[in-house]
């Protein structure tokens, strides 16, 4: 069912596993920051972080012998898809929940922190 990691690959395994989580966080951070600050130039950096995550998963898969089994290869694919989609899904939820809460509030003058501001695509500039 599993093929244990070779002694020589211990460090690579630990390092690449840590890199998966850290790059995942960096991707999420840059993704969200780019959107909340309306700074589209940060978005390529976010996807660069995801690319580093992708590379880390491949290195981890190689070091931990995950390519030898269909099941473990599927786990890797699911991880890659999950990390890619999670920030998009959570952003969508953030905007929706804040907009719903805003609708329940008494009318207030619009400002830059209004949830509607965040619903604009990244390419648009705040007036």
């Amino acid at each position: 069912m599993i093929e244990p990691v070779e002694l020589a690959d211990f460090f690579v395994t630990f390092f690449s596993a840590a890199a998966v989580i850290l790059c995942g966080a960096l991707y999420a951070l840059l993704f969200a920051y780019s959107r909340i600050r309306n700074m589209p130039r940060l978005m390529p950096l976010a996807y660069a972080a995801y690319a580093a995550l992708f590379a880390s998963v491949i290195v981890l898969g190689d070091a931990a012998n995950l390519f030898g089994s269909l099941f473990w290869a599927a786990v890797m694919m699911l991880m890659l898809a999950g990390y890619l989609a999670a920030p998009h899904a959570v952003w969508h939820l953030c905007v929706t929940t804040h907009a719903a809460a805003q609708r329940d509030m008494p009318a207030a003058p619009p400002d830059s922190s209004s949830p509607e501001t965040f619903q604009r695509p990244c390419k648009e500039k705040t007036p």
Partner: protein, 480 residues
């Protein structure tokens, strides 16, 4: 209402008065955890130190049990703290709650005294009932186990009856449902079997499901309330997120239990289940980053209680690094084969418990102190504000240093003891004598001292913060 800055019980409602009692005992037990941890750490470096006076096995046991109990006291206190504000009515059965607090505290004192007075002896049936049950981390004797369940049942009654009589909120609903699991799952650690695999199977229900399911949900409840109190976040938003978090936590956390079933004699399919869900467990943490950035953008980080806010942020980071990064580094069975039960686990455990649970309890200590002193100013330019900042620096740096020291020792153990020597006794001793292990343990001790200094400063700060303030707390209400 008394003068601002003066500690006065009339500033608190009934539930909050009970909460501060729990917080006081929690803070004392936190000190005990650190003291016994330092003794156990020193015994790694000087094995003869206090031998047959206060053995390593006892120091380690009290160190870990004190941690479990102080966090539990902190959580229970925090729940009582928010109960009346959330439900809109006084706590139902408060007298019973107070009585149980004193019984619970006395029982903890008796259990620890017995641990210290009866360190070795025959393992008989009566030992299980009166001295120790012998299960790692939940060593309390059977009478105390039953007592814990009864206390948690009373706590559940207080919460359920209060919300039922008052108004149900999202926070109240999740809290009450979680408390059912809190006492229910503890029962799994109480029955005795002669098969060690079966015994471990159920034991992990308490250790993993308490920690990675019920405690995490409880922390989600506290975080939701904390964000509303400190940051002025809107109820509808935090409650929506609480539901999402509960779904994500249970979705990945419950079957993440499988990563504890890799090597205890359970069927091989647990390798797949544990590996699969362990790989997914960090996804909610990554999702949390997006939410944190979004919320900080909305609220511009204006808080009514800077120390509490700082500890809530430390909670988010600590949870991410301790549980996420340190957990995933060695959770896949292909590498966990070599790392489980080494100082790797201790490294992960230290950072994860501190990051996920100690931090949020400390945040609530500060929330409580603010109101206990008449809802005093605790935002920028706080008089004597250096103390909370330095205690935070010392505690966090101390914890990171200990984690790194244990990481080095665990890395060496996984190579020498496990991979090269094949988990033999000779391999165990070879790993213990290796310079990397010794140096890792030495630095763990140094940073343990730093952590202890941070604790002393924390207690000093909690006793004095806001004393010289005359300004009322900053209003950050979002109106929701």
């Amino acid at each position: 209402m008394t003068a601002l800055g003066t500690i006065d019980g009339t500033n608190l409602n009934g539930g909050q008065k009970l909460a501060v009692k729990y917080f006081c005992v929690a803070a004392i037990l936190f000190g005990a955890q650190i003291a016994f941890g330092l003794l156990a750490g020193l015994q790694y470096l000087i094995p003869d130190f206090l031998y047959e006076v206060l053995d390593f096995s006892i120091n380690r046991m009290v160190h870990i049990n004190a941690m479990v109990v102080w966090m539990l006291f902190g959580f229970i206190g925090s729940a009582y703290w928010l109960m009346e504000e959330e439900s809109g009515i006084p706590v139902v059965g408060l007298k019973l709650g107070n009585l149980v607090f004193w019984i619970f505290t006395a029982a903890v004192a008796v259990v620890v005294a017995v641990y210290l007075l009866v360190q070795i002896g025959p393992g008989e049936h009566s030992t299980l009932w009166l001295i120790t049950e012998g299960r790692e981390y939940i060593e309390a004797p059977r009478w105390a186990d039953i007592g814990i369940v009864v206390c948690l049942l009373v706590f559940f009654f207080n919460a359920a009856a209060t919300f039922n009589k008052g108004k149900w909120t999202g926070i109240g609903g999740v809290l009450v449902l979680d408390l059912i699991a809190l006492f229910g799952i503890y029962l799994a650690g109480m029955f005795y079997t002669t098969n060690i695999s079966v015994d471990q199977y159920w034991w992990w229900w308490v250790i993993h499901l308490w920690v990675e399911a019920t405690w995490e949900v409880l922390v989600g409840v506290l975080m939701a309330y904390g964000l509303m109190t400190v940051l002025g976040a809107r109820r509808k938003i935090v409650e929506t997120w609480l539901y999402i978090e509960v779904a994500l936590m249970f979705g990945s956390g419950i079957l993440g239990l499988g990563h504890h079933y890799f090597w205890i004699g359970t069927p091989e399919y647990w390798l797949s289940i544990g590996g699969f869900f362990s790989a997914l467990e960090p996804v909610p943490l990554v999702a949390m980053v997006v939410h944190a950035v979004f919320d900080s953008g909305v609220h511009k980080m204006r808080s009514s209680n800077h120390p509490a806010m700082a500890w809530l942020i430390a909670h988010a980071f600590g949870n991410f690094f301790g549980a996420g990064v340190w957990g995933f580094m060695h959770t896949l069975p292909q590498i966990n084969l070599y790392t489980h039960g080494t100082q790797w686990s201790a490294s992960h455990g230290h950072l994860a418990f501190f990051g996920a649970y100690a931090t949020i309890n400390i945040a609530f200590f500060y929330i409580a102190m603010q109101k206990w002193r008449g809802n005093v100013w605790m935002s920028g330019d706080l008089v004597g504000g250096w103390k909370w900042k330095w205690s935070m620096v010392l505690l966090n740096l101390g914890m990171v240093g200990m984690t790194m020291g244990l990481l080095v020792a665990g890395y060496e153990q996984s190579q020498i003891e496990r991979a090269i020597e094949g988990s033999t006794w000779a391999g165990y001793f070879a790993a213990q004598a290796h310079p990397w292990f010794q140096q890792g343990m030495f630095w763990r001790m140094i940073f343990g001292g730093m952590f202890a200094a941070g604790y002393v400063l924390l207690v000093l700060d909690l006793l004095t913060i806001g004393r010289h303030e005359t300004r009322p707390a900053q209003n950050v209400s979002a109106g929701g």
